[in-house]
C-alpha cells in the first residue's frame, strides 16, 4: 500500500474567515504528487487556532495554527512540510480544550470531509436510523423520552413529549420543521453541525420524521449562513443518492424528503410560529398559542419543530451506548450542552460538556481569560434574551435550574465575555434597541414599548438617580413580560433586570 500523506485544511466559516481558503489555494498549487492528498475537513471548534492545518503521515496526525500566516511565497510542497514542522505541530486531541470536553453530539466534527458519507457511516452514522426503522415509531419516541433530552433551541421543552404529541395526531399529512435560524448573538453550534457534520442533522431529522409520521421536512436556514446552505444542499443530494432520503428509505416503506428554505434577515423568524409564517410565504408575525404547532402547525397540519442541535442529538440517543448521554447530569439538565464561548476571550469556540460546569471553568479553564488582558467585567449567557452576570458570579453553575434561579436561561448556549471597558448601561440600551429592530410588530408593548425603553435608558444614562425613570423602566419591563405573545417581547427585559440587579449603580443609582 502506498504511503499517502493527508493534509487537512478546514472548510468552515470561522476558519475561512481568518484565511483557511487562501491557505488551501496556496498549498494546493504546490502539490504535484499523487501520494499527497488535501482534505477540506470541518472545524474542531477550537476557533482560536483557526486556520488549523493538520498533516497525517504514517498514522500520526498533528496540526498547527496558521493564523495570520501567508504561504504564497512557498515554491514546493517540501518547503511547506518544513514550515509546518517549525510550528511545533501537536495532536489536537491532546489539548485541554478538546480533552476536557464530553463530545457526543459533536464527536465527528473536525475529523474528516463533512460530506464523506463513508466516514459518517464508519463513525456510528446511520446506525440509529436503522434501529428506529426496526423498533418502530412508538419505541423510538420512548427511547427519546427516556433519554431526558430537552430542546436545545432555547426553550428546553422535553423533545420526546413534543414528538409524542405530533405522533398522536390522527392525520395523514404531518410536517417536520428544523429551525436553523440561529440568530442569538454569540451562537454558532447549529452552524457548526450544518457545516461540519451535516449528515448528523439529516439523520436526526429522518429519525424524527419517521417517529412522528411526517413525510416532508423543511430546514429554515438563516440567510447569514451561505456556507451552511452549500453543505446542506450537497449533503441532502448525497443522502438521496444513498437512499437515506427519498422513497422507501433503506428498503422500508418510509418516504421522507427535506426542502431547504432560506430566511431573509429576520431574528424573530427564529420564534417557531413566526418561522412557520415565513415558510408559508408571509411576514414573520408570531401566532398566538394555542393551537400548538404540534397539533396545528405548518399549513394547518401537525408539525414537529426542533432546532438543529436537538435534531442532531437524536442519533446519539438511539445508539446502544445511549446511556453515555442520559447518564450525564440531573433534573432538566440531562446530557451534554454545546456551549459557545466568544467575545473578549483568548480561546473561543465550541465546548460540548455537562451542564453543571461552572462559569469559571468555561471562562478560565477553556477560555484562558480575556483577550485584552483586562479583568472580566460581565458575561452574557443565553443570547439577547439571556442575562448578564458580573465577575463576582463566576461560581455559577450553568444548569438550566441554576440559571432559572437567577431569572435567566441557558437559551441556546451562547456565553460572551466582556472586559472592564464595557458600559453596562449601553448593553441595557442595546437590549431595547435590538427589540426595536427585530420586533415583528404584532404586540404593542414589544413594538412601541421597546422604543420607549430606549428613550428611558437614554435618560437614565444622563441621570442615573432619576427615581421616576427607574420606576417607568420597571413598569415597562413588567408590561412587556406580561403582555407579549412570544419570547422576543417577553424576555427582552431579562438582560435589563440582570444589569439593574448584578451591576448596581451602572444603570440605576439608588
Amino acid at each position: 500500500m502506498k504511503n499517502i500523506i493527508k493534509i487537512f485544511i478546514p472548510n468552515e466559516t470561522s476558519a475561512n474567515s481568518v484565511g483557511a481558503n487562501s491557505l488551501y489555494q496556496d498549498i494546493s498549487k504546490l502539490i504535484n504528487d499523487e501520494n499527497i492528498e488535501i482534505i477540506r475537513n470541518g472545524s474542531w471548534g477550537a476557533f482560536w487556532l483557526e486556520p488549523f492545518i493538520e498533516i497525517k503521515k504514517d498514522g500520526i496526525r498533528r496540526g498547527a495554527s496558521y493564523r495570520n500566516i501567508k504561504l504564497s511565497h512557498l515554491n514546493t510542497i517540501e518547503e511547506f512540510f518544513l514550515d509546518f514542522e517549525k510550528r511545533n505541530p501537536f495532536d489536537i486531541n491532546e489539548i485541554d480544550f478538546i480533552k476536557k470536553q464530553n463530545r457526543i453530539v459533536f464527536s465527528r466534527i473536525g475529523h474528516e470531509d463533512p460530506l464523506n458519507i463513508k466516514y459518517y457511516k464508519n463513525s456510528k452514522g446511520y446506525q440509529s436510523l436503522l434501529t428506529a426503522l426496526e423498533i418502530g415509531p412508538q419505541k423510538t419516541i420512548n427511547r427519546i423520552k427516556e433519554s431526558g433530552l430537552n430542546g436545545r433551541g432555547g426553550a428546553a421543552f422535553p423533545t420526546g413529549i413534543k414528538m409524542q404529541t405530533v405522533f398522536d395526531q390522527d392525520t395523514s399529512v404531518k410536517y417536520l420543521a428544523c429551525n436553523a435560524d440561529e440568530g442569538d448573538g454569540g451562537t454558532f453550534s447549529d452552524r457548526l453541525i450544518m457545516e461540519s457534520d451535516p449528515f448528523a442533522l439529516i439523520e436526526g431529522m429522518t429519525i424524527a420524521a419517521y417517529a412522528v409520521g411526517a413525510s416532508k421536512g423543511y430546514i429554515y436556514l438563516r440567510s447569514e449562513y451561505p456556507l451552511a446552505k452549500e453543505f446542506l444542499i450537497r449533503a441532502i443530494d448525497i443522502a438521496l443518492d444513498n437512499n437515506y432520503l427519498g422513497n422507501n428509505i433503506q428498503n422500508s416503506n418510509f418516504n421522507f424528503d427535506i426542502e431547504l428554505r432560506i430566511g431573509a434577515g429576520s431574528y424573530v423568524c427564529g420564534e417557531e410560529t413566526a418561522m412557520m409564517e415565513s415558510i408559508e410565504g408571509r411576514r414573520g408575525l408570531v401566532r398566538s398559542k394555542p393551537p400548538l404547532p404540534a397539533i396545528n402547525g405548518l399549513f394547518g397540519q401537525p408539525t414537529l419543530i426542533n432546532n438543529v442541535v436537538t435534531l442532531a442529538t437524536i442519533p446519539a440517543l438511539l445508539l446502544n451506548d445511549q446511556s453515555d448521554f442520559s447518564q450525564i447530569g440531573s433534573n432538566k439538565s440531562i446530557g451534554t450542552m454545546p456551549f459557545q464561548l466568544s467575545g473578549n476571550v483568548n480561546h473561543g469556540g465550541l465546548i460540548e460538556t455537562r451542564f453543571d460546569i461552572s462559569l469559571n471553568e468555561i471562562v478560565k479553564d477553556f477560555g484562558y481569560g480575556t483577550k485584552s488582558g483586562q479583568p472580566i467585567h460581565a458575561i452574557q449567557i443565553g443570547g439577547p434574551l439571556g442575562i448578564y452576570l458580573s465577575s463576582s458570579m463566576l461560581d455559577t453553575s450553568l444548569t438550566i435550574e441554576s440559571l432559572q434561579e437567577l431569572k435567566g436561561s441557558v437559551g441556546h448556549g451562547g456565553i460572551i465575555v466582556f472586559d472592564n471597558s464595557v458600559d453596562m448601561a449601553e448593553q441595557a440600551k442595546f437590549a431595547m434597541e435590538f427589540c426595536v429592530k427585530e420586533s415583528c410588530g404584532k404586540c404593542t408593548p414589544c413594538r412601541i414599548g421597546s422604543v420607549r425603553g430606549v428613550e428611558i435608558i437614554e435618560r437614565l444614562q444622563k441621570n442615573k438617580t432619576s427615581k421616576n425613570d427607574a420606576t417607568l423602566l420597571h413598569d415597562l419591563c413588567e408590561t412587556l413580560e406580561a403582555t407579549s405573545l412570544c419570547a422576543m417581547g417577553g424576555m427582552t427585559p431579562n438582560p435589563i433586570h440582570s444589569i439593574i440587579k448584578f451591576f448596581p449603580n451602572e444603570l440605576i443609582e439608588k
Binding site: S17, V18, S278
Partner: protein, 153 residues
Amino acid sequence: MPIDSRNIIKPFIEEKGGLMPALHALQDHLGFISKDNIKELAIAFNFSQAEVIDVITFYDDFRLAPIGKNIIKICQAEACQSQNCKQLLSDLTSYFGLEMDETSDDLNITLKEVFCLGNCAVGPSVMINDTVIGEATTKKIVSHLKENDVQEL
C-alpha cells in the same frame, strides 16, 4: 437576452409557501424586486400587490431598489460589541463616506448592520456578499474588495 422574470417565478408557483423562495430567486438574478415584479408575483401567487409588498418590506434582505455590487454587513451583535465593532463601524462609515443602509453613487458599495454572523469567536466580523471576514479591520476589508475587483477584470 434579458432574463424574463416570469420564468424565474414559475418554478415556485406550485410550491407551498413559494413566495419567499421566489423573492430570493428574483433578487439573486435581478438585484432587487421591481414594481413590475410585484405585479407578476401578485398574479402568480394570487395575492394583492399590497400583500406582496407587505412580505418584501418585512424582511431586511429584500429590497425595492438596486443597491451596491458589494454589500458590506458589519456585525453589531453582543460578541462583536466586546471586540469593538462600534469603532469598526464608524471607521468604515468614514472610510467609505457612507452612512448605514447607504449606497455609493457608483453602486459599488452598500453598508449595512447585521446581528450575528455566527462567527463570534473570531470577531469582529464583517460579511462582504457571501464571504465572512473575521478579526475584521478596515484594511482587511479594503484589501478583500481590491482582490475581488482584480479577479473580475
